[in-house]
Amino acid sequence: SRADSGDSGSAPASSGAPSAGKGPAAELRLGYFPNVTHTPALVGLEKGLFTKELGSTKLVPTKFNAGGEAVNALYGGSLDATFIGSGPSLNAYGKSDGKAVRLVAGTASRGAQLVVKPEINSEQDLVGKTVVTPQLGNTQDIALKKWLADKQLTDKVKVQNTENALALEEFKKGSVQAAWLPEPWSSRLVLEAGAKVLLDEKDLWPGGEFPTTVLIVSTTFLNDHPETVKGLLKGLVASVDYTKKDTAGAKTAVNAQLKALTGKELNAATIDRAFTNLSFTLDPYAALLPQLSKDAVTAKVAQKETDVKGFLDLRLLNEVLTGAGQSAVDAAGLDKK
């Protein structure tokens, strides 16, 4: 039978304040994606906001192309923290039986829309049509499938997973008629392919907010180097503040990063529209996480609900926020098992 000792290192330190750990880490390996939904990450990197707060700790930013590799890298210990979609973050927590990762802050919310061909005016018009989402089990995929289930359209609407750029191309050609996409792709479909918005996902959530991007940290790293994580969070707070204050500057910073990372920037109209649909906040909207986890089951991308209790660890974030004179965010009781 299987010995259980191996995982002790990653046992949650849920009681008491995070202990002093092993002092600041030598380096922090931070994952992120070249997407506008990761704006605070991109701005923080572009403006050097993380480095400033991390002091002697060397920041190693790592750009990922897919969530899978980022989570595997976290699992494998070659990544310490990453910005990631809320859906995959839950998955990363659940698949490691609640051991590998902790959510330490929100980053962005909202910013996903169901955009359709102009002739589609209601959900009933979607019957027999194809709707695209970016990837099986990602945030928008779950949202669409949950929504379809609610409207009892599950078997009447075809769901196709394709990369965002391909979705745009297919939409232009008319081989797909609708897409549930995150920014900036919903904006690009509207602006470049004449799509119209049938539904903004924020309308489905009470208060109009839901987590889109969050910051997760490897549990081991959190236990060993709380100061470093705190530094990272300070940088993130600064970056979110900056983004809110100087939207134009943030847009420039994002485009600069995108240009460097992918060789292409977003055009002004797209980034403007994307920014209006997104909101950048440190609140992970913890209260909604259990619902998201339920939705995954409803959407049939997970067999069983992930128990999200213990997933959050917002103490460091709240320390930073209160220290900066801002209001603390609520963990909705999910910071305890």
């Binding site: 010995a3 191996g6 899978g68 595997n72 075809k158 394709t162």
Partner: protein, 305 residues
Amino acid sequence: MPQLDQDTAEHKTAHGDGPSGAEVDGAIGGLDALDAPDAGPQRSRGRRIAAAVLPPIGAAVLFIAIWQAVWAAAWVPEHRLPSPLTIGEVFWGLVETGQVWELLWTSVHRAVIGFIIALAIATPLGLLLARVRIVRAAIGPLVSGLQSLPSVAWVPAAVIWFGLTDASIYMVVLLGAVPSIANGLVAGIDQIPPILPRVGKVMGAGSLANARHILLPAALPGYLAGMKQGWAFSWRSLMAAELIASSPELGDGLGQFLHNGMSLFDMPMVITGILLILVVGVGIELLVFAPLEKVTLNARGLRKS
């Protein structure tokens, strides 16, 4: 006493007295089998089948045992290395729901069709490349270059031309497999002893008859090796092509299954996917290529039974 000396060559065998010396040597001697002459008298049918089936099964059992041991030792957490049992369960789940047949059918029939088309294109292409100097000079390096293009590179082009249809998938598969098979054939033809095409020529064989009666059969061993590699390319390209999109029209194949496992960070799903792909690969090798190879080589007296 020279005959006590190591160098003294003494071969002793008697008809039907159990395993012949050469065989036992082969099993024990490892590398020494490099020099073992063909085993003497014929072995029984049962023993021959056993000799073919036991070693791979032994290898598989050994592999699973090591895996189980590593897992039990819990060096790595469960979510990184699931136990063989977990995989077994996932697999069994696929079998129970019948999904496994759908996955296999979707991918295998596509790969087979793609491969056959590739063969039909690559064979004349390979013949031209091998025998017409100007064709070789003009596009030979290009064909080799194409081989090294990753299949995903063709995905955008395929989608633009053919949309999200099977045609796109076949295009990606063909671009993977054709250069490989053609190159294999070229290599095979290059190695033909020059006397054989000359024999064809003096017998008055025209270009086509020469290709049909001399070049292709003479190049067969190399051609088969190229086909094997071509099959690998088409199967791998298919896996890449199946990632283009998952949609009800296209149906789910193994590539999609693997990809879904990776998007959901579901290691058991990923490993099951890998094993399924491997099973297909090994199965095709054992059922198609190994027998073909054996027949080809035996007919030419190139391999000891």
